[in-house]
């Protein structure tokens, strides 16, 4: 069962070798020459990484340790806890990997140091999404809400501000991104679903579920409301009070009609709802769709006309990391961007910011399936070697470009966030 395809494909870490040489040279001149000291030290370094289960996976930890030679300790928590620890306990981790919409609250706490792009070996290869152009392809949609570049850059290593791209300093180093949509049970619905409007279609009364995260849940609903033609938002990712009121009032109405079977708050809940058939259409995250499908239950991540709700995550660096450990963390970042991790995550359905590196570690047929949206030539396996798709199947949502080129909205923290939470709590008690 357990295989680790990428272990054989370990990269040569260019920067680390270089650094190692440089440091050894420094050490040699300073101490009168025992370059092995550095090599010895590196084994004792431990990097504490706090993150979500999206990316903090045991297998990856082992791959990184083998490639880099130092210890990596991953701790997994949910995104909310992650945000809290990031904001209040900066000593409990060296790196923390929140979502972009959490940065507004976390970065200004001053618990972090900016990431220096000049120390990143692969930064010039990083896709335009995170740079000035803000797009991967010229004809891509820019998307409403909080685009990653709005919180990507800062003015100095110890700043707490957000500035226009591009500067030398990153608030966080981008890692995975993907686009979310509605998950459906095609067998129980029996017709194609092509619009977000279906989410609030009375046909699915009592068989729909919305995610119980105020910020994102509200956006899913806004996508449906706009698609259905009830109202048009100025910016669904940054609503006015009136827009929030209308949306929440409608949500309360739906709740009282019993439109939603549940409001799920964890990944496993969404999987259970779908598996058991309690729900046939719901907000979903892509690995949840995979989890349902891997149990032999049909589930489709629908490609909807109005586009996708997209998200990204990235590493923040604690301000307490320094010296050799800091070098090690940068080594880790470079390894993360160098390809093996990208290939690993591609098989989970996510995209790393250095696709050209990923491509080097992903066999051509898998690249075509995951990135180009072409039918699978061979069986498609997940990172653990389990067969996910038979030959001939096509990834739902199609190519990378079809998804990330049609971002309707980014996961965001709205300016009226406090009001969103207040109204969301009212909806819960309604």
């Amino acid at each position: 069962m357990k295989i680790s395809p990428s272990k054989k494909l370990l990269p040569s870490i260019t920067r680390r070798s270089a650094l190692k040489g440089g440091a050894a040279a420094v050490a040699a001149t300073a101490l009168g020459g025992f370059p092995t000291v550095w090599a010895q030290d590196i084994k004792d370094i431990e990097i504490h990484m706090l993150g979500s289960a999206v990316s903090h996976i045991k297998e990856l930890e082992l791959m990184a340790e083998e490639a880099l030679g130092f210890q990596i300790l991953q701790t997994v928590v949910d995104f909310a806890t992650l945000g809290q620890r990031a904001a209040t306990q900066p000593r409990s981790f060296d790196t923390v990997e929140p979502a972009y919409q959490q940065i507004n609250a976390i970065w200004p706490t001053g618990n972090f140091q900016a990431v220096d792009t000049t120390k990143l070996a692969y930064w010039d290869q990083t896709i335009g999404l995170y740079k000035k152009e803000g797009k991967i392809w010229p004809d891509a949609w820019y998307g409403q809400g909080q685009h990653p570049t709005q919180v990507q850059y800062t003015s100095a290593i110890d700043s707490r501000d957000f500035v226009e791209p591009e500067t030398q300093w990153l608030t966080m180093i981008p890692t995975n991104h993907n686009a979310d949509t509605l998950g459906i049970r095609p067998d129980l619905i029996g017709r194609p679903i092509t619009s977000w409007a279906e989410f609030i279609n009375p046909e699915f009364e009592g068989r729909a579920a919305l995610q119980n995260f105020p910020q994102i849940g509200l956006m899913d609903l806004a996508m449906a409301i706009e698609a259905q033609g009830m109202m048009t938002y100025g910016n669904k990712g940054n609503m006015t009070r009136d827009e929030i009121d209308t949306t929440i009032d409608f949500l309360i109405e739906l709740k009282q009609k019993g439109h939603f079977r549940a409001f799920w708050g964890t990944f496993s809940e969404s999987v259970n709802l779908m598996l058991s058939g309690e729900v046939v259409i719901q907000s979903m995250w892509s690995p949840a769709v995979t989890a349902v499908r891997s149990q032999g239950v049909p589930c489709i991540y629908s490609d909807l006309d109005e586009g996708y709700r997209s998200w990204g995550i990235g590493f923040l660096l604690s301000k307490f990391v320094e010296g050799k450990k800091l070098d090690a963390v940068y080594d880790f970042f470079d390894w993360y961007y160098s390809g093996p991790a990208g290939a690993f995550f591609a098989r989970q359905g996510y995209y790393m910011p250095t696709p050209e590196q990923t491509r080097q570690y992903l066999p051509a047929d898998e690249w075509d399936f995951w990135f180009e949206g072409k039918p699978a030539v061979n069986e498609i396996k997940d990172p653990f070697g389990n067969v996910m798709e038979k030959a001939g199947s096509v990834r739902d949502g199609g190519s990378w470009k079809n998804r990330m080129g049609r971002v309707a909205i980014w996961n965001s923290t709205m300016a009226e966030n406090a009001y969103v939470i207040q109204r969301w709590n009212e909806f819960l008690t309604a």
């Binding site: 357990k2 045991k58 300790l73 990944f267 259970n272 058991s276 149990q295």
Partner: protein, 291 residues
């Protein structure tokens, strides 16, 4: 202990017995579901139907490949629970001694104990977490986490101790004192042996409540997770029956703990009865040892 008496059942004995066993069924229902689902097939999920019958998820717990490495969190939780247990027994026993004699501020302290009991778990967790952060310190499971657990187990331990001390037959102590026993001898040879079952009860409570504690721990575990925190983290982003496998394994583990405690209580009880018999033989007074 009351062997010779003819048992006279109170009215309603049969319905109550039936209720008791129905309640047991209710208590064990979820445990049965957990046990069954932990043998879920490799492709199976957190709900029925079973896709097969395998030991796959037990293997996954022992040698994790995906997310959720339960081994270290389990170790931490057990260590923490043992420390909490020891401290709870010590703190509440000493408090019980003090309350027996009475002291200035006893009432105020008692109200604080009750406040501690009802203080919302979340408030305690948030308060400790933010407190540590403001002192520029990092809370860990063995510091802030330990405190959060004590804030829950100690009030309960104190209440149990007060209840147990309230039934303590003082004439035994007086007898010992009359015989010239020092304060220390009295404590060592009279009070502690009699209180031992109560202390074991406090210990059991302390261990259980700490081992299973989530809401108070959620914000103060620091760098590393305890078992419940790890479990909640895993449900947040994955959906594998390895959770159930952990549940089954911990049940088996607890059964072992229970059997050990049962044996311990039995021996203490036997010793106490023996001691009481010798006291009784000497003074012709019948100490209250029946249950």
């Amino acid at each position: 202990m009351k062997g010779g008496e003819k048992i006279r059942r109170a009215p309603g004995f049969i319905p109550r017995t039936i209720f008791f066993w129905l309640f047991m069924l209710f208590l064990y229902g979820p445990i049965a579901v957990i046990a069954i689902l932990s043998f879920q097939g490799p492709q199976g999920g957190l709900t029925f139907p079973m896709t097969g019958f395998s030991l796959h998820w037990f293997k996954d717990v022992i040698d994790p490949t995906y997310i959720g490495d339960f081994r270290w969190p389990f170790g931490r939780s057990v260590i923490l629970a043992v420390i909490v247990m020891a401290l709870t027994v010590l703190v509440s026993f000493l408090a019980g001694l003090a309350y027996r004699k009475g002291f200035v501020g006893g009432t105020v302290l008692f109200y604080l104990v009750i406040t501690c009991l009802v203080a919302p778990s979340f408030l305690v967790s948030l308060g400790i977490g933010l407190g540590f952060a403001n002192l520029e310190m990092q809370t860990q499971w063995w510091s802030g986490g330990l405190g959060a657990h004590l804030s829950w187990t100690v009030p309960i331990g104190v209440l149990i101790m007060l209840a147990v001390f309230a039934r303590f037959d003082r004439s035994l102590e007086e007898a010992a004192r009359d015989l010239g026993a020092t304060e220390w001898q009295n404590l060592r040879n009279v009070v502690i042996p009699i209180m031992a079952p109560g202390m074991i009860a406090v210990g059991l409570f302390g261990f259980t409540l700490s081992y299973d504690e989530f809401p108070r721990t959620s914000l103060v575990t620091g760098t590393a997770n305890t078992l419940p925190v790890e479990m909640v983290a895993v449900t947040g982003t994955a959906a594998t029956p390895s959770l159930y496998a952990v549940g089954t394994m911990t049940t088996v583990f607890s059964l072992a703990v229970i059997i050990i405690s049962f044996v311990a209580i039995y021996f203490v009880q036997a010793r106490r009865a023996g001691r009481a018999r010798s006291v009784q033989a000497r003074y012709g007074k019948k100490p209250d040892v029946s249950d």
